[in-house]
Amino acid sequence: MHRFNIDFMGNRRIMFGISAVLIIVAVAALGLRGLKFGVEFTGGTVINVVNARTVTIEQMRKALADSGIQNAQLQEGTVNNVRGFIVRTEVTDPKLANADATKVAAATKLPEGDFQVTTIGPGWGKNVTNKALLALAVSLFAILLYVSLRFEYKMSVTAIIAIVHDILITLGIYALVGWEISPNVIAALLTIVGYSLYDTIVVFHRIKENSQGLVKQSFMSMANESINEVLVRSLNTTASSLMPVIVLLFFGGATLKDFALALTIGLAVGAYSSIGVAAPLYAIWKEREPKYAALAKKFAKAS
């Protein structure tokens, strides 16, 4: 009941094909449509009105104009069945932004407690972006180092390829759908790095264990068996990690949704890439080693 025998390695070209198509689409989307960055990266102000009560979007628009707020983008949205507004302006002075919010609250007679004002100064966004990229680079490097020391460099290189695969596809979906990139999404991406790696390490752990004193079969078929052995665990883990995240997606409120969305995509892609990308690439690379090349030759006819 819990034993699988799926020929992942035999079908690796199909999996590589799927990944290649996904990556091409993602890169094209990133190149053509680009990413939409949130106010934290661009500078400016976002005023969230959580509960619109009886105020219509026209009344809101009029309130904004009457309060003398220039170049405001007004958007209506629903969170947990409560209608609200999101107002974006180019104001980078928090005093002005909060004065604006106070005026709008007075004009619409909405309580100020329902307002959330975020103002990001110019130049800060660049700082945030650079720091996030630095964090990503440092964590990738640390991972590379850890896996190389603990296991071997071939594992760390293929694990990193799988990670880049996951990040590209997740970002591609964001570009394609036009979702906004917030710092939360960046955090989620880093978590995906961790998770995808976690999955990959579990598979590699088993391959390493099974490769000791390997004589009775080729590396490739041993790797395939290893994947099958940990498959139930992979599926169960992905399911049990996805469950809370998906719940967050539905019940989490606006702030937590950013995380949940990126995580949902990333977890699914990450689980796939451990089996579909990292393990086959690693096995192909290992079969080039003389020891395993000989084994592959010996068992080539048998299978």
Binding site: E40, N127, Y198, V247, G253
Partner: protein
């Protein structure tokens, strides 16, 4: 020690930790500090701007922090938090503030260091307080007029008087300042030294309207070099030096990330986050029991152990002011539920697999848990590494997420070593063999398992 005894000991230790955690975190809404985005208020990150052509130094940041503290104290808000972030930023959090605009005006203004003749202050209550030697007296605008501002200060230092052994704060002023200072101190000095006052008047050193020090003028100071002595501790002296330096080297602070959250809003988000965490936990529990039956139930208990230790840790850190739960932090917690479930799944799978290989329950439990924990530790460590990179390097709200993720990983490791492994091993001794199917071992596999051997016999199987 006998493995059985060791396992009982570990479980006892785990029970103590769980009970301790409950004591720490109940009730969670009181014991775990809530971040600004949850309790509502003003949160602002200020960055210090370096002077043209110069890099920002630690001393600059010390001054910037002092200026900010001084101003935030003046707002009179309680439970404010001021933290350094990165090399050039300060995070200020003021919970439950009513007038964000006014607060921002106070925090954002340029630091103003002034020297005031106490006798010239029109607010008699403030003068009385200063004469009594009270600390941190606030002067109302319009009640005082400085005779000199802080730009004249060239440098300030702390030294110990070689003859008296007292700690002194030394000020060096520029030429223009020295002249004004000489006139003023001559006027304020005791009659015996040529002044007007019988014993010497007080001169107040005022930063942003708050009196930081009000020494007595003992004699006219004409050389531009001043020493302030008194009952200073080394700490006081250093603070006063920093105050004086704000005049010489002003630091301007720019608000770069300002968030004003209404109090109702944050509570709504918290409720949603808690609901998400509970529903997530419940779904995972149902799934684990459906899939692994008895072992699944042990996994659910281990999730509860994990959750208890996690909440206890958060409450403990909150008590020391080291933690405040933010919304991204909640997302980190939800994520670690998945991690903890995974560790359990790894153990369950591995143990079942080893049972399937024909080992006894007892040896399968021992070697299965050991192997699975080895895998988990590796996987946990790499996730920890990326969370650490995020925590150390990122700025802003994301750090809260990285922190809960790291703490969650620690609790996950504790849970596996102190609860899951000993529990599974002890159950495998007598309880699992009696009804293997109830514990998630497939019927056809259960038939092939060798009977539990007496005292070590099965271990060589």
């Amino acid at each position: 020690m006998d493995p059985k005894q060791r396992n009982y000991l570990l479980l006892a230790l785990c029970a103590i930790l769980v009970i301790g955690s409950w004591v720490l975190f109940v009730p969670p809404n009181k014991k775990i500090t809530q971040g600004l985005d949850i309790q509502g208020g003003l949160s602002v990150i200020l960055t210090a701007q370096p002077r043209p052509g110069q890099a920002l130094t630690t001393a600059d940041m010390d001054r910037a922090e002092l200026i900010v503290r001084n101003r935030v104290d003046k707002l009179g808000a309680s439970e404010t938090s001021i933290q350094r972030q990165g090399s050039d930023s300060i995070l200020v959090q003021i919970p439950g503030i009513k007038n964000a605009e006014e607060a921002l005006k106070v925090i954002g203004s340029t630091g103003q260091l002034e020297f005031v003749e106490v006798a010239s202050i029109t607010d008699t209550a403030a003068v009385a307080a200063l004469s009594r030697g009270e600390d941190g007296v606030t002067l109302k605008p319009g009640t005082y007029k400085p005779f000199m501002t802080g730009e004249v200060v060239k440098s300030a230092s702390v030294s110990q008087n070689p003859t008296t052994g007292q700690i002194e704060v030394n000020i060096v002023m520029n030429t223009a300042g020295s002249k004004i200072w000489a006139d003023a101190t001559t006027r304020m000095a005791p009659i015996s030294k040529g002044g007007k006052s019988p014993t010497g008047e007080l001169v107040a050193i005022v930063l942003d309207g708050v009196v930081k020090s009000a020494p007595v003028v003992n004699e006219p100071i004409t050389g531009g070099q001043t020493a302030i002595s008194g009952k200073f501790t080394a700490e006081d002296a250093k603070n006063l030096k920093t105050v004086l330096e704000t005049g010489a080297l002003p630091v301007s602070l720019e608000p770069v990330d300002t968030r004003v959250v209404g109090p109702t809003l944050g509570q709504d988000s918290l409720r949603q986050g808690v609901i998400a965490a509970l529903v997530g936990l419940a779904l995972v529990a149902v799934y684990l029991i459906a899939f692994y039956r008895g072992l699944g139930a042990v996994s659910v208990v281990s999730l509860l152990v994990f959750a208890s230790m996690f909440l206890g840790l958060l409450a403990g850190l909150s008590a020391f002011g080291l933690f405040a739960l933010s919304l991204p932090g909640i997302a980190g917690i939800v994520l670690t539920i998945g991690l903890a479930a995974d560790s359990s799944i790894l153990i369950n799978e591995r143990v079942r697999e080893e049972v399937g290989l024909g080992k006894t329950y007892r040896s399968a439990a021992a070697s299965g848990t050991r192997h699975a924990i080895g895998t988990s530790i590796d996987a946990d460590l790499v996730t920890f590494v990326s969370a650490l990179a995020l925590f150390a390097l990122a700025i802003g709200p994301v750090r809260g997420f990285a922190l809960t993720l790291m703490l969650g990983i620690l609790c996950d490791l504790l849970m596996m070593l102190l609860f899951k492994r000993p529990a599974v091993m002890l159950l495998a001794e007598n309880i699992i063999p009696k009804a293997p199917v109830l514990w998630g071992v497939p019927k056809e596999v259960a038939k092939t398992v060798p009977a539990t051997a007496k005292k070590g016999g099965g271990r060589r199987a």
